[in-house]
Subunit: 238 residues, 2 copies
């Protein structure tokens, strides 16, 4: 498996993603965008991209803040995501830039792209779907599912999986039901999953280290959701 | 694969289930109860039991009405389920009798049992879990998730998967959120899934023939939910 920095830009802004793929494999393979949590591109998203490369995909862990910036504190990370979620066109333009960068790679089949993300990254992956991008599928792991710019009928071509914890204090159940209503109105193909006994950031083994109440790693939920994603990829990339 | 009638009883009442297993296979294997829709034990549940037998399980398509009775009309079937849902102790006793009959079979590992069900059968499988039966897992397909006797903390040992359609007029979203709340209070391990674009009875290829608005087969939802069940069985029977 090979990893490299992948630089891309949007206007004056430059981004540094982490690209991973199996360099012993020939030909174009499905590509997967991996979008980080609020804290910026770091170990968690990079490891997931590498796991996807091991599984035969070409994966780009994207950089949503530019220059590979990481928040110096939890407060700063939350502030950054809040600003981007309030400015949906900018958020969509940034993930679109990453999408275009991944599609341009010779290793990648540009017709077979998916996007996944964690927390803020899940939110971002859903925004890529709402933008109407020709992405086959999106998986949001503990991502806030609501938006300032809900999708209208027929706007979403991507199939969607959203997985959240029933004990996630940042994603109350009314947000999940609002998301289901939005997806119904949009006539989107969405699978919305809620796991009981599961808090926010359940896929991140380092979640507990932040000392934020409501964040907790959950190995079983992490494994189940990863398996669900793989099953979903088998369907959309068939 | 071998199929046979399996007779069992509860007090004065006699039941005729449809038992399926691979008779070329040696030793005790996991057992799965399959509970029919409102109309009584028929082709749909029997075919699913046979599919499970093909996959290496010993499966009993149960008879919840006694004598293998099938409703002569949709109205009669709905009346029967309404009566049983209003009398939860009787409903639980009947599925418990089937559970005991399956566990008593020499082909079955009595410590590795799951229950699945469709519509009313999904409701019934969930009641088996609420009763505290030592079943490893329960999967409810388009089953009404609410009950007259909600589970208290620690009462449920089975892991649970509930899958419903967002366009199912018989299972409005508030029932799904009420179920999530019940499972949270019960401290149960539940995975609650809602598929958009999917109506009631989505697993039954004959659903549309009944001419009831809101019932519709959906091949993709049928396949996804079956795959999800198989993945769940791999986890609980590991």
């Amino acid at each position: 498996m090979r990893t490299e920095n992948l630089e891309y830009s949007l206007g004056e802004m430059h981004f540094r993603g982490h690209f991973a793929y199996d360099d012993h494999k020939q030909g174009r393979r499905p590509g997967v965008l991996v979008v980080h949590e609020a804290w910026g591109l770091g170990e968690h998203a990079e490891e997931r991209a590498e796991g996807l490369a091991d599984a035969g995909f070409a994966a780009l862990a994207v950089d949503m803040y530019g220059g590979g910036r990481q928040a110096s504190s939890s407060a700063e990370g939350l502030q950054w995501t809040k600003a981007l979620r309030a400015d949906v066109p900018t958020l969509r333009a940034r993930i679109r830039a990453a999408f275009d960068a991944l599609r341009a790679r010779a290793e990648v089949d540009p017709e077979r792209i998916a996007a996944i993300g964690y927390c803020f990254g899940g939110t971002t992956a859903l925004e890529l779907a709402r933008s109407g991008a020709s992405v086959r599928g999106v998986v949001s792991f503990h991502g806030g599912p609501t938006t300032e710019m809900p999708a209208g009928p027929g706007q979403i071509s991507a199939k969607i999986v959203s997985i959240t914890g029933a004990d996630d204090p940042f994603i109350p159940i009314y947000q999940v039901t609002a998301f289901i209503e939005e997806m119904k109105r949009a006539q989107a193909d969405a699978q919305v999953m809620v796991y009981t006994g599961v808090q926010h950031a359940f896929t991140n083994p380092r979640a507990d280290e932040r000392g934020i109440p409501g964040l907790a790693y959950n190995r079983l939920a992490d494994e189940r959701s990863w398996t669900t994603m793989m099953q979903f990829f088998a369907e959309i990339f068939a």
